[in-house]
């Protein structure tokens, strides 16, 4: 009999995500994929999955899941309260749940998105090479959209082995920067010097129009040099497009493949996730870096991502329900230096 997770209650926007759907942007298919690749990789590492396996990315608040069959090993990456049958348990730590047990994932204390992974992964058929959900075009995931109450998610593994659990100290992960770094271009020449100065000098805040497709920002108006229409071209991840209002929109994982507004800059890879974790009302500044600087930062992040399994520790030193120690980890972010 197939083991399932039954969705008792779904978060406001929980979708299956992996690293994204590549190779089909030329056909108009969005990449999608985890908005915060580090959390995606961490959730997978905690349950011993390959780094690119599908997980569920939840937004602001997580899901409530009941095990049907099992046991099932699960882990949640994100600073979020968790309860197994109303007993608090730690996040950033794998858990083994038995048939009939219910995990409730609460509201994120920090950031916008968290991920949960299950050992062995979900038994979902990839669509165009990926299980990533792109809700706007109803592709991938469970049924092309967000999880909803009543869904039953089939799992690949019938029963998770009884072995030690793993934990990850999130303070070892690179902190999310306050400043969002960009590389200017591809169409920075479509803006006046004053427009570029406003973009790099001013403070922007995340508006309420912010989702996996893009973040509309509010702040100093960015002046175009000659209109705001270009012949539509390709949109890379993190592109900052500026429509006629002069207010920038940063395009994220679910972005459309092509567009006709000039792009003043692109947010560097590692900072796209930092931006996607900002909430409406959060304020920040942009800073321009060179491609070489961006690639050095990228390499640092990649080293952490690739080294995640090596950061895991046995979670045996404390009882399952003694969450104090682990929750404490979340309060000492920034204790580890070495990150710019």
């Amino acid at each position: 009999m197939t083991t399932h997770l039954r969705v008792v209650a779904a978060g406001p926007s929980s979708t299956v995500q992996d690293r994204g759907r590549f190779g089909y942007q030329r056909y108009g298919v969005s990449v999608a994929g985890a908005a915060d690749p580090l959390l995606h990789a961490a959730a997978n590492a905690l349950v011993g999955n390959p780094a690119d396996a599908g997980v569920v990315e939840f937004t602001m608040m997580g899901d409530t899941l009941t095990v049907e069959g099992g046991p099932v090993r699960l882990a949640v990456a994100g600073d979020v309260p968790l309860f197994v049958d109303d007993q608090p348990v730690p996040s950033w730590t794998s858990l083994r749940l038995r048939d009939g047990e219910t995990l409730r994932i609460g509201a994120l204390r920090d950031g916008v998105r968290g991920c949960w992974a299950v050992e062995g992964g979900m038994a979902l058929d990839p669509v165009l090479g990926s299980v990533a959900t792109h809700s706007r075009s109803r592709l991938g995931g469970l049924h092309g959209g967000a999880l909803k109450a009543g869904d039953r998610i089939p799992l690949r593994l019938a029963a998770a082995a009884d072995r030690g659990e793993a934990t990850l100290d999130p303070s070892l992960l690179p902190p999310r920067g306050e400043v969002i770094r960009v590389v200017l271009g591809p169409q920075d020449d479509a803006f006046t010097p004053a427009g570029i100065a406003a973009f790099l000098g001013g403070e922007y805040s995340v508006s309420h129009e912010a989702d996996r497709m893009g973040y509309r920002l509010t702040g100093p108006v960015i002046e175009h040099a000659r209109g705001f229409n270009i012949t539509s071209d390709g949109i890379p991840l993190g592109a900052v497009q500026v429509p006629g209002t002069g207010q920038p929109i940063v395009l994220l994982a679910d972005r459309q493949t092509t567009g006709g507004y000039p792009k003043i800059a692109c947010v560097i890879g590692p900072d796209v996730a930092a931006l996607a974790q900002k909430r409406p009302g959060d304020r920040f500044r942009f800073r321009a870096v060179t491609v070489a600087e961006a690639q050095a930062i990228h390499a640092q992040h990649r080293a952490v991502m690739d080294g995640l399994p090596g950061l895991l520790r046995a979670a045996g030193g404390f009882a399952l329900y003694d969450s104090e120690r682990l929750l404490g980890f979340n309060l000492i972010g920034g204790a580890v230096t070495g990150w710019e």
Partner: protein, 252 residues
Amino acid sequence: MSVTSPSPPSLSPRLLVAGDGALIVELGEGIAPALNAAVHRLDRRIADAGLPGVVETVPTYRSVLVQYDPGQTDPDRLGPALLDLARDLARASREPQRRWIVPVCFGGAHGEDLDDVARRAGLTTDEVVALHCAADYRVYMLGFSPGFAYLGGLPEALHQPRRENPRMVTPAGSVMQGGAQAAISPIAMPSGWHLLGRTPVKTFELRRAQPFLLAPGDRIRFSSISVVEYDRLAAHDGLLPDQETVTEGAEA
């Protein structure tokens, strides 16, 4: 914006930086068949070259977005290689191209805006349909949504601004026009384009070995079918349109 010149373009390839994981090779400005043909030639050359670190390319009207793995390459290595591939693109070799004959049921419930389009153009609906069926459309690019094909080649008599009130949903298979372009939209989507008709051909079908029927660079010719014929063809699950071969460079 719309420069429709039948002469070969004078290309001046430009390399644009698009973050730490992409470069754009821009061949020119505007929407023109010869410029777009050069884009698709470059796109094929990039695919054939197998440059290290290249993840995916997105050919558009006048440029190719090249996404790369920043762990494997950088603009200093990739940029010159791309510019090298972009040399002599205007010298069109006569490459064979696919042309699909796409059946369309124009007007009525299948194309709610046909009457309005005809009225604004000062033509009868039959004349509008005849113009659409005589046009030799080019798939300039696919974008916006899965399989959405931007078609260039709309006769000038039919150029009209988009709808003031975009529709929240247009039916799957809609054949539409907006501005100087036409489009085939395989999935239900919001759109401000004018609905001319519907095709029973599924240009995007996940259950098919080749989910996307149309590729950037393909040619399209519409053929008008009746409602009865539409219903008969729509019931045919694996329907593929007729195909011809045309020679690239013929428009130059």
